[in-house]
Symmetry: C5
Subunit: 90 residues, 5 copies
């Protein structure tokens, strides 16, 4: 999983039928010091309560579809947790 | 998923039989501010109405094949939505 | 697999139900000379005894879920070994 | 899929039994303007007629094995089409 | 698949039970001219005769596990061939 910050949401009328009703968020990946790194991704919200500004962690590839219900969806990034804190040496 | 802009299409007479009739588009990945980032990919069109100039989001790896019908195809990038707008802080 | 150093842990109250009780660690990937390379990832601990400071190797993508019990979890990075030594020419 | 140019072939006597008789080609990935980008990959030839100099597109990860017959092979890159032309704005 | 040079081996007492007895090697990925590119990976040896100094090609992600016996292992990189020669234009 990777750490990320929710930056906004995507509005899309034309989409794959399997993705109807799914909330899609723009997420900026972060490094361990929570600085932005790499390009943003569009992730499905698998915890159903993420929103702009939240610090989250997300999965990629096959495991992202695994997080959704039903799981046979063409999704390759999904938010699976909202982070309260990151402990440890920087 | 990632944001991208359709740039053109690929013409290929010799191709895997499982890909007959499939529309293949050249897509430039974009960052959150819609600036180009990274190399173009060749993506199958799973919404059947994408064309040059469209702002889209696409899936990669196993989930791309999941988006196609039939799904047992050697496809690793597929367009699964056409974007109307991206909301939120830049 | 990749070599990495455990840097800390992630505290997350809101998470996917399939991840309840799972220990999540922040891991810094390393190159062959054990210098940091690339961004940190959040990995599940599949050997159940990793902690901050440990030199480990971890798997990514589908094989990370394979390492967990039960294996139907939305996990894409998992620590599968603690390294005693790396032999060979640098 | 990605665009690439076939650069040569790989000779390997010692190989996984599942790969016996499989033609392996060295492919240079290209960007939309057909300039080289990133490192070469070793790809299996799933259209059975690719050769040095050909402009091709290839799949990666699980979908590469999907393109081979039989499909239970440890292959993660496969050429699935030979490109006649790329249309559209550069 | 990618070309690589075996650089050494990994000693790990604490490891996932599914990986008992598996030889793990440190591999430096190479480009077409056999110059090092990117970070080293830890790969399982699926041809059972690779050693330091060998020029090899290896698979990543799900196909790496496919190369191992048994195949339900948390492995995401595996050496599947030892290269005798790379033919073609540089």
């Amino acid at each position: 999983m990777k750490l990320g910050r929710v930056r906004g949401s995507v509005v899309a009328t034309v989409r794959d039928p399997a993705m109807e009703g799914m909330k899609l968020l723009v997420v900026q990946p972060l490094d361990a010091s929570q600085a932005p790194v790499g390009a943003c991704v569009v992730a499905a919200d698998a915890v159903y309560q993420s929103g702009p500004g939240d610090l989250v962690y997300f999965v990629a590839s096959r495991e992202a579809a695994e997080a959704m219900h039903p799981r046979f969806v063409p999704v390759d990034h999904a938010i699976v947790g909202i982070v309260d804190a990151v402990d440890g040496s920087p």
